[in-house]
Amino acid sequence: MERVKIGIKGLDEMLNGGLLPETANLVEGAPGTGKSTLGMQFIYNGITEYNEPGLILTFEEFPQQYYHDAEAFGWNFRKLEKADKLRVIMTSPEVGKADLERVGGRIEALAHEIGARRILVDSLSHFERLTDDPAVLRSMLFSFVNSLKREGLTSILTRESRTFIGESESAEEDAAFIVDSYIMLRFVEIESAVRKALLVLKLRGSDHAKDIRQFEITPTGIEVRSKFEGREGIMSGSPRRMADSFIEAFVTPSKKRKNQT
């Protein structure tokens, strides 16, 4: 099956070769976990390695921020815009959605102008300010995601989780049902150091790796490393050594029983 490679080696492997074409793919994590970096890398690699022009649709984040952040990784977004391979579009969720839902909208025109195949939408969280009704929000996201697919774009949609470490406290899972794949980024505390973990939770229509991998944001972008060995409860944010869990489950109770007798 044809795949749309993100261009991050370990991650493409986890996705069984990459994302599926013309699908919507959610990357969720706390601020600072690297959602936008992963999205920018998807766009940059698409243009430079796979000849697939891209759009960045940003809600309320100025394009300068992306140029600046990308430059830190050696990705020259201004040059790519001048070469008609990239367009960074800042708008609001209500206008972006309305624009995509009409024929001949501005985003559609920009996509056609450069022959865009990929899009980063940063971030879906901004849609949440448009309504308090989860059903309305879900329908809004559904129609937004569909309009991206209609344009033939493979998208990475970021979403912010509200908790920094550990599992998300609220049930923000509506978007997870709408998208075709779901990648979670998490901060993990191990021996008084914060590391980053990545998990592919879902990839509709394809097998994918189920293990939780470590990743780092390096000077050249995201690098996915080995899986967390010998630990469990990674996504809780405070993993334990499996040996500790064994002791807790089997050794401690017998000690307790001894003490009780």
Binding site: P63, Q64, M90, T91, S92, E94, V95, A98, D99
Partner: protein, 123 residues
């Protein structure tokens, strides 16, 4: 009379197309801010409310000034559903003029002259 002489001297060495742009299009500081905003965000399409928020300005003021920029051919205005949105016009000549204006603003002398012209126009 002396004031007119000073104005003539200040504007004398300004590129004619920029002088015309300044006189007839960017004749207030709010418009100057808006032109800079759209130069930095050339693909932005948004409502007056949101642009006012990004620009840190009052929406009523922004709307009037943006409508004048629409009239001057710098911005375009359109309806998307029940939203009225503004963008930089697609016309390459106008986009080049905007680029030239913002580039010229890097020069302090040009800025001083432009500020003087706007203040004079506000009297």
């Amino acid at each position: 009379m002396a004031s007119n002489d000073l104005a003539a001297r200040l504007m004398g060495d300004m590129a004619p197309q920029l002088l015309e742009f300044l006189k007839n299009k960017v004749n207030t500081f709010v418009k100057w801010d808006l032109v800079r905003f759209f130069h930095e965000n050339p693909n932005t399409t948004d409502t007056a409310e949101n642009i006012a928020r990004y620009a840190g300005r009052d929406v009523a003021t922004i709307e009037v000034e943006m409508d004048e920029l629409v009239g001057a051919g710098v911005l375009s205005r359109q309806r998307i559903g029940d939203l009225t949105v503004y963008s930089l016009v697609e016309d390459p000549a106008m986009r080049t003029l905007v680029d030239q204006f913002i580039l010229a603003c890097d020069d302090r002398q040009f800025r001083v002259k432009a500020i003087y012209h706007i203040i004079r126009g506000m009297r």
